[in-house]
């Protein structure tokens, strides 16, 4: 049942003028603070925003100090990039996991064959690796699916506006242009990795800590709770 609430207004309230003056005080305070004082404006001038180079993966706080704009969230899904191995070749093995899981079907891979650097056999690698960023729904599933830490979306970049649609299709070289070296070990850690890490969990942590020399970060790694 509806309940009627009567609000009692005093004569002072009904004058409205005190309320008007108070309201004006609030808006004018904002006006003067934003015009002459320290600005409280939240607007990001998208399109006029010059990001510093290199991307702020190492020390976000220093970057934040320099820029008026605020840092994007740490796990912001930006433009894709392909990662490199220690020797500088592309990490991707063209396993097609990302292309398969992609709900938008925007990843196109053409596999080729090359000598494997770690064993004496041959391995697959992407001859062509294209992502149509206009079709991409930025879900991040490709990154989740990748077993090799070869594909990431951690560049913190929006795709810049393009004049032709074909310019939004990033090919292998463009994706590699922001490549970093992954901290995951080339060729994997062998079949008995789990036992070895359980045995030397402290050492494993030591190994997979963020590395300041050369490696980007350690957001991926074998993080397991110590089995009690």
């Amino acid at each position: 049942m509806a309940k009627i609430v009567t609000i009692k207004r005093t004569f002072w309230d009904q004058l409205y003028l005190p309320g008007v003056v108070r309201g004006l005080g609030i808006t004018l305070r904002h006006f003067f603070v934003n015009t002459f004082g320290s600005k409280e404006i939240e607007t990001l001038r998208y399109g006029e925003w010059d990001r510093p180079d290199p991307p702020p993966s190492s020390d976000p706080d220093a970057w934040r100090g320099k820029q008026k704009q605020r840092l994007r969230p740490e796990r912001f899904r930006g433009r894709h990039r392909l990662m490199k191995r220690d020797d500088g070749s592309v990490r991707c093995t063209a396993c097609m996991m990302c292309a398969t899981i992609c709900p938008a079907n925007c990843i196109h891979i053409e596999a080729g064959e090359r000598e494997s650097p770690t064993s004496r056999s041959v391995e697959k690698f992407p001859l062509r690796f294209e992502i149509d960023e206009l079709v991409c729904v930025v879900c991040g599933l490709c990154v989740e699916a990748c077993p090799c830490d070869a594909l990431r979306m951690d560049t913190q970049e929006h795709l810049p506006p393009v004049e032709h649609r074909r310019d939004a299709v990033l090919d292998r070289e463009q994706l590699l242009s922001r490549a970093g070296v992954s901290i995951a070990r080339d060729g994997g850690d062998g079949e008995d990795w789990r036992e070895r890490y359980d045995a030397t969990i402290g050492e494993a942590r030591q190994i997979y800590r963020p590395d300041k020399q050369g490696h980007d970060d350690a957001t991926i790694g074998y993080r397991r709770k110590p089995s009690s």
Binding site: I26, T27, H30, F31, I41
Partner: protein
């Protein structure tokens, strides 16, 4: 004869240049100021090459855009009236500036002397038209603006336009009464209808209308903002949801309505400054120089006049700023609230103000 013509032209150029220029700046100020109040940036992108001036070029860009837009007249509109309506909205607002004094009487020959004998040199009042019934003229002409709104809504063959026009008519009629009565108090105090004499009577801060007539000032400001048809009284337009009387207008004709609205803001600023804030009088600035707290700095006639003209323009600017601030602070009223405020609050209050003022004056007269 030639001198009269020259003076008139010069004064028209100064006054209308100020009014139209300020109203153009106000279109920018409205957006930037509201942006600053709401922690936004506002429009800053219009540019000529590298020149941006914080977005001050936006009025220029807007005017260019509106001039080149299609001039659309709805097929079933009353064409003659449809074309006439924006003019009827714009011209009265331009006319009322004629009697606003933007500076003291000027003796051009004696501009170097300190405190010249003004009676000796036939001074030129800095006011386009010196009419004894100046304030009556203002109210008579300003109320013509309602016709613009009503006819615009009526002639455009649009139900929303028609309703908007009716709302405009009802609102402007209601608030004009309060506006007129609020001024009556000031008229009783100063005993003149001529704006220049009104300003001259407010020589010291103690004589300013806002001190002598505080209630009249509030009532007048309220009613005047309602006359400009802007928030919190923007019911005739209500651009965001209740469509207004100029829905069918586009291009240059729309620009005329838009310009008229901003000119009205300037006009209200001028009127409030003239009647209640001492017009071109600045506290401490006398005819022969600056007299402040016992100190005296002699200034020549020309400098004093220039300072007073600038004072007036500054006052008008600040009042425009205040109006914009009010517009971006208060939410729009409902129509019945508007009518109740107009007829049941403001009107009795203004009548009360008139009676009390008259009574006090009578008592003062009897005591003398």
């Amino acid at each position: 004869m030639l001198a009269i013509l020259g003076w008139s032209l010069l004064k028209i150029v100064v006054m209308l240049g100020f009014a139209v220029g300020l109203s153009a700046v106000l279109t920018w100020m409205e957006r930037r100021q509201s942006a600053m109040m709401q922690d936004r940036i506002g429009p800053v992108r219009a540019n000529i090459g590298k020149l941006r001036l914080k977005g001050l070029l936006h009025p220029l860009a807007d005017a260019l855009k509106l001039l080149f837009k299609e001039d659309f007249i709805p097929p079933r509109a009353r064409k003659g009236i449809f074309v006439l309506a924006p003019l009827l909205a714009l011209i009265p607002v331009l006319l009322v500036f004629a009697v606003i004094p933007f500076g003291p009487p000027l003796c051009l020959d004696a501009w170097r002397t300190v405190g010249p004998d003004l009676a000796a040199c036939r001074p030129e009042p800095l006011q386009i038209a010196h009419i004894d019934i100046g304030l009556l003229f203002i109210f008579a002409v300003a109320s013509l603006g309602a016709y613009g709104a009503v006819l615009a809504g009526w002639s455009s063959f649009n139900n929303f336009g028609l309703l908007g026009g009716l709302r405009a008519a009802a609102q402007m009629l209601s608030y004009e009464i309060t506006m007129g009565l609020a001024v009556v108090g000031a008229l009783l105090v100063y005993g003149t209808l001529e704006p220049m004499e009104l300003v001259q009577a407010q020589a010291t801060l103690w004589d300013w209308g806002i001190v002598r007539q505080p209630l009249g000032f509030v009532l007048f400001l309220c009613a005047a903002i309602a006359e400009t048809k802007r928030a919190p009284f923007d019911i005739p337009e209500g651009e965001s949801e209740i469509v207004g009387y100029f829905v069918e207008y586009s291009g240059t004709r729309f620009m005329m309505f838009y310009l008229a609205e901003f000119l009205e803001i300037v006009f209200v600023g001028c009127l409030v400054a003239t009647i209640f804030l001492g017009g071109w009088q600045a506290p401490g600035l006398a005819d022969d120089g600056l007299r402040l707290f016992g100190h005296y700095l002699p200034l020549s006639h020309g400098v004093v006049v220039l300072a007073r003209v600038l004072t007036f323009f500054l006052k008008v600017f600040l009042l425009c700023f205040l109006q914009l601030a009010i517009r971006w602070t208060l939410p729009r009223m409902r129509f019945d609230q508007l009518m109740r405020l107009g007829w049941k609050t403001l009107l009795p209050a203004s009548l009360f103000n008139v009676v009390v003022t008259a009574g006090v004056l009578l008592a003062a007269q009897a005591a003398r």
